[in-house]
Assembly symmetry: C2
Amino acid sequence: MTKENIMEESLTLFANQGYENTTLANIADAVGIKKPSIYNHFDNKEAIFLSVLYHVAERESDYLISETSLSKDHTIAERLKHLYCTYLDHMSNSTEGMFFKRVTFFPPEDFSDDIQEVFLMIEKTLTDILVPILEQGIKEKVIRPLPTEQLTSAFYTLTNGLFLEENFYDKEVFHKRQEASWEVFWLGVQCPGKEE
Amino acid sequence: MTKENIMEESLTLFANQGYENTTLANIADAVGIKKPSIYNHFDNKEAIFLSVLYHVAERESDYLISETSLSKDHTIAERLKHLYCTYLDHMSNSTEGMFFKRVTFFPPEDFSDDIQEVFLMIEKTLTDILVPILEQGIKEKVIRPLPTEQLTSAFYTLTNGLFLEENFYDKEVFHKRQEASWEVFWLGVQCPGKEE
DNA sequence: CCTACCGATCGGTAGG
DNA sequence: CCTACCGATCGGTAGG
């Protein structure tokens, strides 16, 4: 029970301040115990981080699979847009998203191998959701017959770009950017002659 | 002279390790002086950061103006692509680029206002270069007649996305991503019926 | 520009 | 799960 509390509070602190700026005293305070009591549950600070990292990785994969997919009676455009919006909203507004952004973009040096492993795993989960939609879109002649690798690449660049921008614009401007960038992406990806 | 050395070495350390993980002892070692001597040139650690931040901001604006523009006897496509490639290459391979990436994505809390100011200033410099090219492109019917705000927005999202991806892919994969994402952007921005 | 030093805080330990 | 404590290191100061 206490162990789960330590992990939960550590996740929040790592997400908001980063690993290096979070002290064991911060964690103990958040949990409501004294600092040395943490050592009843974890060997050291690094062990807490790794435990949190792999736990979050699992939860994120589950989340992506269950929440970002849209049933097959929606159009390709709707399914792609839904994936885009849900993924962005999750990464912007959840503690897990913040944590994941931090550790992937500026990994604490000691853990860079573990973090890369987790990153590639989650990207693979997303790719597995994305590729069937794109292939279906190409088959229906809604999406240009470009290599799927190129299409997924452009999709990831789009979402990654908005991650960064989310830090600098207020909600309203960010939402305009999100829509504007999506529209240009969609124009690029759409089959010519199919514009609405 | 020593003051400039302190700023130069601090820039490198901040770029590679981040502000919080750089100690005054690190800086002093890199410069080749003892830690207290730093206080002959700066009031405290924060003053070093702000000094570096604004100095780099100026240099970056100058760089953008002088290096990313291409003379008017190139096509719109060439000028846009050149701006894109030059900007990305600079952000990926220079110490200044690394510094910017760090501070814009996870700003040290105490400086978030200053960092936002610098980010918006540099974005404005880039907008002033970008908008005339886009307007010319629309006039020549090479670029879709979308609002320039939407076109610049998509361009920034594209570069920001790659800006981050450069951190977690090797050079080869990154270069493929850079090309793939550009092509989709260009397809979205290009006037229909003008595809090469 | 240096030596010598400060109080605060870091991750972690001893011992109950 | 706690009190009491460790050596190392942090940003910063005194004084020359």
